[in-house]
Symmetry: C2
Subunit: 456 residues, 2 copies
Amino acid sequence: MAAERLVVIGGDAGGMSAASQARRRRGPEDLEIVAIERGRYTSYSACGIPYFIGGAVTSTNELIARAPEVFEKDYAIGVRLHREAVAVDLDARRVTTVELGPGGSGRTIEEPFDQLVVATGAVPNRPALPGAGARGVFGVQTLDDGVAMDAYIEDRRPARAVVVGGGYVGLELAEALVAHDIAVTLVDRAAHPMTSLDPEMGAMVAGALREIGVRVLLEEQVRGFEERDGEVTAVVTRERTIPAELVVLGLGVRPDVRLAAGAGLEIGPSGGIAVDRRMRTSAPGVWAAGDCVQSLHRVSQRPVSIALGTHANKQGRVAGINIGGGYATFPGVVGTAVTKVCGLEVARTGLSSAEADAAGFRYTTAAVESTTRAGYYPGSQPITVKLIAERGAGRLLGGQIVGREGAAKRVDVLATAIWNGMTAEEVLSLDLGYAPPFSPVWDPVLVAARKAAEQV
Amino acid sequence: MAAERLVVIGGDAGGMSAASQARRRRGPEDLEIVAIERGRYTSYSACGIPYFIGGAVTSTNELIARAPEVFEKDYAIGVRLHREAVAVDLDARRVTTVELGPGGSGRTIEEPFDQLVVATGAVPNRPALPGAGARGVFGVQTLDDGVAMDAYIEDRRPARAVVVGGGYVGLELAEALVAHDIAVTLVDRAAHPMTSLDPEMGAMVAGALREIGVRVLLEEQVRGFEERDGEVTAVVTRERTIPAELVVLGLGVRPDVRLAAGAGLEIGPSGGIAVDRRMRTSAPGVWAAGDCVQSLHRVSQRPVSIALGTHANKQGRVAGINIGGGYATFPGVVGTAVTKVCGLEVARTGLSSAEADAAGFRYTTAAVESTTRAGYYPGSQPITVKLIAERGAGRLLGGQIVGREGAAKRVDVLATAIWNGMTAEEVLSLDLGYAPPFSPVWDPVLVAARKAAEQV
């Protein structure tokens, strides 16, 4: 028997990164590792679901980074699929789990632990609206959701779909459904899609959606769903009734802290599990990682919960190294996000204008239009960069990019600059790569910084 | 008459940026501005010449950022084309210039100044080899060089070409000549092309050249050129004679400091004009900018001379703001460079292994292979990232990237990280943009940083 037993709740990015890293540092004789996963997959890319639905990715297998057998065989990590953790007793050091289908007995199994990683992920926001349980209404949180939606499309060939919610996943799915020749309506209660962007940047995204034929209804709230024989037939808003055989709910997610809260772990103001930089929760020997935790936003210095695989992987790695006896920290986030929708590349980092307002900053904004390559180089594409800089000090608070091929990943320079607290004046001096196939002689990011520096 | 007179020597990026910025801050009644340019163009993109030769850019007009008339009309800057500055008298505050052809009289004209900007650019390295003056032997320094080479190709339809020198411009031109169905041989005395890369990264570039049919001869030195009737017929190395009707010399450039040195301005150890952070030379009221100056390398803390339009523009801007009564500084470079050759994207920043050795660093290197997008996302391309990190401290010293579409501009994150003195451990935590069309969940740059962090 191993000296210690580690139980990981949640077999996706955060949990399995923690498990793998712990294993790298402690062998099976020293540390037994068991991962509890409710579904039937481990370590998959939920972010890939829209591309599976759209057909760019042909099989869900491609979305699975590492299968359970790999963890079992190569890492000596016991993976318990179709097993739901329903309670954690911190004093007794055990997790109560239930066997689920297929073929699940409903049997209760106790899993004792010395160390515990809570990686329960996020739970989709699902308003309690009449008809929300009808067939044809889908979330897009898990790979199973994606598989179910894909099968439904294949089977029913819906002619009309409504996507509720204009966040990243909602927009990506709207485009994916257009690829199936489905007439798509996007309904969002906000004034523009992607509310993490400033209004005029979000408006460009709405324009791109309309260009490919998506009907975009803004400032419109869904009140319920009509159904016939248990199947959805329409989406009802205050303004109208929109016929649809398929409804996708993309209303965002929140940390799934039900288990953690039940166990008495401290939940932070952002709604995520409170952790320190080493990913320790409020209870000794209990760690947390992934979409269920709260992170420090390095610009606002406030706690935030951002559900993103890249954070989950890093946080899991940090927890695993620490469990393994090493030392690692997760120093926070700056809110970077990118997506590609309707050929438009969209990116943001740091604070939006609204977020800067909320955080109490005085700031100036500078937006510039430029090109992704030298203007004369073939394939040069338009790009708009908007920066938000603190008045006086000139510190960069946020950046947003909307453009075509080659635009979005430029946000990484801004993310790195913001991470380091650089001012607009410092950013404009940066030695970025220049050659005609990659950039005008002044990179668009530098042009924006130059404009911001002149204003602060 | 204006209160002061500013003379700018050199009508390209550095000089005209300085002139424009000075004008923005001081009107014509306050500051008369005259720019002296030897050639017939102002503000053109020399970096675009290979794409003009290759046919991707169809007219040299596209390479001209701003024509002389625009400066005259919109900026009230007097532009004197076909005018060569031959001497500067700092005490008498005047530049001696000569009128060149076409229609040039050879007449001498004195240009008095209160303030002077020296922006004389770079001069190509041209070994004094027998036959180097033959027709068919071209440099690629100026737009006129490009125009002449293009006309020669059109006229003579050379079947065979030799490119001497495996730097950025040499490689870009080799590819451009292949596009003309010319059989191209590249001769470089180094063991791999692009000596600013580490050997194994440079070897990938050599491989890409060979793939498109370029004959690559390494560690081979050119001893001269054979000619018949004044026209080149072959390139002679120690090892062989290579028949060629066209020879391109891409042997790099060095700062053109003849005028500055003659005037008694201090020349730095890198061979460029010594300037402070505000672009002031050793003489009061005399500024310098562009390829002719020396810059601080922020990693080695040593002076370097790097000929690159992006630096010239920034330096010119800084000089112009200061001349205009403002305050701006150029805080140095980190040696970033990118290029695209034979479909391969190549980038480097900071110090190479050889440069780190020369600067006395103890370091470790970490190279990783990854993909530009999520592995399952269509169009995902290979990318190799190599990092050089200081032992112990873990500070990032340099980075190199070789890959396909979407690879090279990732160097900007490394350049920004190096600029800020980040360690590999800090870099791996960066909040970079993640979405399947743009990156694996661990960006290749972060994977490399993670590996480096484990080694330092």
